[in-house]
């Protein structure tokens, strides 16, 4: 009987260089694309889209974001309650901005409302902000990549 020849004790090593190259490229890809502005978004809010909604060329310096859900729940910072109860929180914000040496009138209230929220709720929210002293607002919408108007004919002709 033939005895098998003993294998060489040296370890067989594959070439790891292509795999490491590829992995580093993937990491670089994800690092470049990672979005650190996730804090501005809210999972409950699905924005309406608009073909004119372009990211601003200049970054807003002083702003507060209010998320308005479909059911009227508003989120501002860490505070979450019905939008009608935001008055006191907005007044506190107003005073904080004043104490910080900034001009509250120049602070923009960014409203991120759900696309199915009632328009009247957005109107009322703006009014509550006005009563608290704010006067500059920004209605946020999602960029619509398709050209043209989404709602070509929302009104029945002759109706």
């Amino acid at each position: 009987m033939r005895i098998a020849k003993k294998h060489d004790s040296s370890v067989l090593e594959g070439d790891l260089t292509p795999m490491i190259d590829m992995t580093f490229q993937l990491i670089a890809f994800f690092m470049v694309l990672i979005n650190f502005t996730q804090s501005e978004s809210n999972d409950k809010v699905q924005l309406p889209d608009s073909e004119l909604a372009k990211p601003p060329e200049t970054v807003l310096e002083n702003f507060r974001i209010i998320h308005l859900g479909e059911d009227g729940t508003a989120v501002m910072g860490t505070k979450q309650e019905h939008y009608k109860g935001l008055r006191s929180a907005l007044e506190i914000q107003y005073r904080e901005i004043q104490f910080g040496g900034e001009e509250p009138a120049l602070t923009t209230i960014v409203i991120r409302a759900h696309k199915n929220a009632k328009g009247g709720m957005v109107q009322e929210l703006i009014q509550i902000c006005q009563e608290a002293g704010f006067e500059s607002f920004a209605l946020r919408a999602e960029e619509n990549v398709n050209s043209g108007f989404k709602y070509i004919s929302p009104v029945p002709v002759g109706g």
Binding site: L16, I20, T23, L26, I27, F30, M31, I34, N35, T37, Q38, S41, L47, P48, D49, S50, E51, L52, A53, K54, P55, P56, L60, A105, T108, A113, H114, K115, N116, A117, K118, G119, G120, V122, Q123, E124, I126, Q127, Q130, E131, G133, E135, S136, F137, A138, L139, R140, A141, E142, E143, S147, G148, F149, K150, Y151, I152, S153, P154, V155, G159
Partner: protein, 162 residues
Amino acid sequence: MQIRNANNSGEKIELQMTPMIDIVFQLLVFFIMTFKIVSMEGDFNIRMPAAAPQAAPPEQMDFPPMKLYLSADADGTLTGIQLNESQPTSFQALNQEIQKLVGTDGGPGARESAEIEIGFDYDLRYEFVIGAVTAVSGTKTTQGDVVKLIEKIRFNTPEAPE
């Protein structure tokens, strides 16, 4: 003078790749898990002071403020558009009407001085409000450039739901 041992020069120094690959894969998994495709967002700026200064009488203004009203049914679906005296049947028609008013027929400076007050039924879904704001605030050319129309947009005071 001491002569170095020539046997050392032939030895291959091997780096430990395992810890590096471990870390690299952990980083990769972290970035993949936290990756989220977010569509771009933009703002429509509206300046609405609570106590607005008294506007000049319409006859003294270059361009009297326009009034736009959007009607809705109980579901919040848009049922009618009223711009001053006309009734455009779609946002596209509204946009064309605004272009006529402030673009060609409005004369020089009409776009800068044009002002519109938007009112709507309480139940109207917000997406229609943004649709109307889009239609009055600008238009997109075939080249993809945005032509601004009305920049001074304000909402009327809300009416309580029935």
